[in-house]
Symmetry: C2
Subunit: 482 residues, 2 copies
Amino acid sequence: MREKRTKIQEVLAREPIGEELTLMGWVRTKRASKNVAFIALNDGSTINNIQVVADVEQFGEEVLKKVTTGASIAATGKLVASQGAGQSCELIAESIEVFGEADPEKYPLQPKKHSLEFLREIAHLRLRTNTFSAIMRVRHSMAFAVHQFFNDKGFFYINTPIITSSDAEGAGEAFKVTNFELDAIPRNEEGGVDFKKDFFEKEANLTVSGQLEGELAAMALAEIYTFGPTFRAENSNTTRHLAEFWMIEPEMAFYDLKDNMDLAEEMLKYLVKYALDNCADDLAFLEKRAEEEDKNKPQTERAEMTLTERLKFVLENDFERVTYTEAIEILKRSKPNQKKKFQYLIEEWGADLQSEHERFLVEKHFKKPVILYNYPRDIKAFYMRQNDDGKTVGAMDILFPGIGEIIGGSQREERMDKLTERMKAMGIPVEEMSWYMDTRRFGSVPHSGYGLGFERMIQFVTGMGNIRDVIPFPRTPGNCEF
Amino acid sequence: MREKRTKIQEVLAREPIGEELTLMGWVRTKRASKNVAFIALNDGSTINNIQVVADVEQFGEEVLKKVTTGASIAATGKLVASQGAGQSCELIAESIEVFGEADPEKYPLQPKKHSLEFLREIAHLRLRTNTFSAIMRVRHSMAFAVHQFFNDKGFFYINTPIITSSDAEGAGEAFKVTNFELDAIPRNEEGGVDFKKDFFEKEANLTVSGQLEGELAAMALAEIYTFGPTFRAENSNTTRHLAEFWMIEPEMAFYDLKDNMDLAEEMLKYLVKYALDNCADDLAFLEKRAEEEDKNKPQTERAEMTLTERLKFVLENDFERVTYTEAIEILKRSKPNQKKKFQYLIEEWGADLQSEHERFLVEKHFKKPVILYNYPRDIKAFYMRQNDDGKTVGAMDILFPGIGEIIGGSQREERMDKLTERMKAMGIPVEEMSWYMDTRRFGSVPHSGYGLGFERMIQFVTGMGNIRDVIPFPRTPGNCEF
C-alpha cells in the first residue's frame, strides 16, 4: 500500500509513456516464454486489460508461479509503447507484489468459456469475468444517468417505503415481513394470527410499487421520482422475472397523458445516449459477445439488429403514438393473425396484448418504438384516469424491439368521485386507503406517472437475454444465496 | 393543462418581469381586502411562495371562496415588480383555475404551527408543509451528491440484495421474509418449519447491511458503493433509530485504513459543501426553524452552534485523527469523568464509547470532527483487520458535533487464516459463509470500506432532532402506515 495505485482505465486513456506507475489488479492470463512473462492485468475500471511484462530471470520462478489467473498483484514499473499487436502500451515491471494467490486447481474462473448458467451458480465470483464486469459498469452508468436526468429537470428523489401495510396493488403477490419466529406464531382469541404482537403491530409486506406513496409526494413537491427495490412473490421461472428488482417511478403533478409520454420518451433517449457516449468499450464487448452467441442459434432466432443498431433505433426514431383501438385493428388485419401464427390470436377489442403482438407492432409494422395509449379500462389498474368514452383509461405503454413493454404508465384519476366508484367496482378497500384518498380530497390536481423496470432497461442496453444476468445477486424461486 | 406551467423556483430566480406566465401549485394562505385577494402560492419547487394578486370583482366570490389553504390552482397572468415588502415580484392574475378544493373544516394543514408529532401522524400530507418540503429537497440534493461524488471518482454503484439468506451480521435483528400464510406454516417431519416449501426454499431475511456483498463486488471492480435500504428489527423507540433506513456503503480494494479515512473525510466535506452551495434557501429556513425551537428549550439544552456554523465546522476543519487508546486517556482525565458527570464513566481501556464521550471529544476537547481508529478487537465485528498488537483492529469511526458517530468503517481482514480464526472464536459459521471466504481464498487483496447512515447525515444537515422526520415514511415499532 505504500505505492499509489493508478487505474488501468486512466493509463489506457492517457498513455503516459515513460512514467513510473503502480498498477494493482487481478491477473486474467499469463503467457510465459523462457525469458519473459506477459501478464494480462485487469482492475475492474475498464473492460480492457493492460499487459505487464516481467523478466523471468529477474523475478524468478518462485514469484511468477504465484502469478496465475485470478491472483491479485501490484506491479510497479515504467510504461512503454508496446511492440505487440492489440495494445498501444505496456508496463515493464520493476517490482511485483503478490497480494493473494488463486490456486489453479481450485479457482473456478479459468480462462475458458463458462456458461451463463454456471456463472449464476457462482454469482459471488462472476463479477470478475469480462461479461459481468461490463454489465455492472453499464448498470452503474444507467443508474447515474437516471439520477442526472431527473436532477437536471428539478425532480426530487423520494424514498418510498419498502415495508408497507398497503397491498392495494399486490394482488396477493407481496412477500410478508415479520419478526415472529415462524415456528411460534402467536394466535389471537379467534385463533387467527395475533398481528398486534408483531413488530409493526399489523400485517406487513414488501412493497410491489412505490407509486401510491410517490403520488403523495408529487402532491407536495410536484415532480418526483423513486428508484428503489420492489418485490413480487410470483412463482415465475422465466428469463423476464425476478422476485426482487429495481424500479424507477416518476410521478408528476400537472402532467397529462401527453406530457407523461413526452417525459418517458425523452428519458429513454437520454439513457440510451448516455450509454452510447459513456460505455463504448463495454458495449462493443457486449455486442461482440451477443454476435458470438447468435452464431449458435438457428437462423430464425438470431437478432435482426446488432446491439448498437437497436440502441440507435430508439435514439433516432420518434416513438409512434398509437391508441390501443388502432393497434387492435392493425393486429387483427396482420399477417401473423390472419395466418394464425400468433400464439394468442387477436379477435376482439378488449384483448390483453402479449409480447408477440407488441414486438410485431414495433419490429414489423411501425419499425419504430411504439407508445400505445388509451387502453380498455377493464384490463388496467384502478388508479388510471377514466376517459369520456366510458370504456378506456389514460394508460400508456412503451414498446421496444426485442423485449416488448419497457414502460407502463398512466394519467392518474384525480377526481374523487370517479376514483371511489372505480375502487368499489374493483373491490379495493376505500376505507383502508383513506390516506391515498386524501390526495384527492384536498388540493387534488391532474397528475401522471410511469414505471420503468431498471433490469429490463439494462437487458435492452446490454443485450443480455436473461434478467438474472443484469443484477448482481438475482432472487428467484428457490434462490436467495449470498 | 393547455397552458405550460412555469416553476415558481424558476420565476423567482429569473424574475421575468412583464412576461405572461402560468403558475400551478397549492395555496398556502389567502389574504383578502375588499378589492384584492393576495394568494401565497407554492409548487414544491422551492421553499419560497410567490404572491398571486386577484381582483375580487373580476373573479367573483364564487371562485375566490374555493381558493383556500391547501387548494390547488393554476393562475395565468403577468409578472410585475412587487410594491409590497418581502417579495420582489408578483403575478397579476388574469385567469384562475381551481383544480381541487381543500375544505377548511376538514383539511388538517391550516396555516398555524403544527407539532412534529402531529405531522408524523399525517405523514401522507406533511410533505406539503414548509418544514418537510425543505427537508425532502435537502434529502434529494444529498442523495444526488452521493452519486455524483462516487461517479466522479470512478466508483461503481452496486445493488446488493435486499432479501438474503445471509445473517452473519444480523445478530437476530433481521426481519424475516416469507411467502407462507402465517396461520398455516408448513412443518417438516421433525416438527420444525418446512422452509423447503417457502418461496426461496430456505430461511430468508431482510438485509442489515450490504457490506459483505459489497466486498464481493470490490474484489472484481475495485471501487464500488452501495446506496440502498437496510433493516433492523430492533425494538428501539428513540430519536436515532428506524426499522428501515438507507445506507451508503463504499468498499474499496487496495485501500488501507488511512486511505479509508481520507475518502470518508473527503466525502463528508463534499456533501456538506454541496448542501451549502445548492440548498441555501432551504437551509436558511431550517436554521431559523431550529432557532425558534431552541427558544422553548432550557438554556443548557440549546445548540451551541447554528446550523450553518455546524456545517462550516465540518467543512473548514481537518478531522482530528486519534487512536482509541489516546481517546481513552483523554476521557479518563477529562473533567466530566473526574467529576462523575458522564452517565457512563470511563474507567479502563476496552470500554465502548457512548454518544456523550464522542460529543465531548468533538465539541469540548478537540473542537473539530474526530476520527477514532484502532479500536479494541473485542468490541468490533469479525471482519475487521487485526493489528499486530494482538488486541486492536483497524476500525475507524467518524464523530460529528451534536450527533456523535456518523460513519463507521474499517480495513477488512484479507488474510484467510486470521479471518477464519476470528470467525471461529466469535461463533460465526464459516461453512455457511464459504462464498465470502472465497474472496480471501482467491485473489485476496487489502481492502477497506465504511458505512454512512443516510438519515443520520440528513439529520446533521437539516438540524432535525428526530430521525423520523428526515425520511418520508418512517418505519418504527408499531408503525408501517402508508
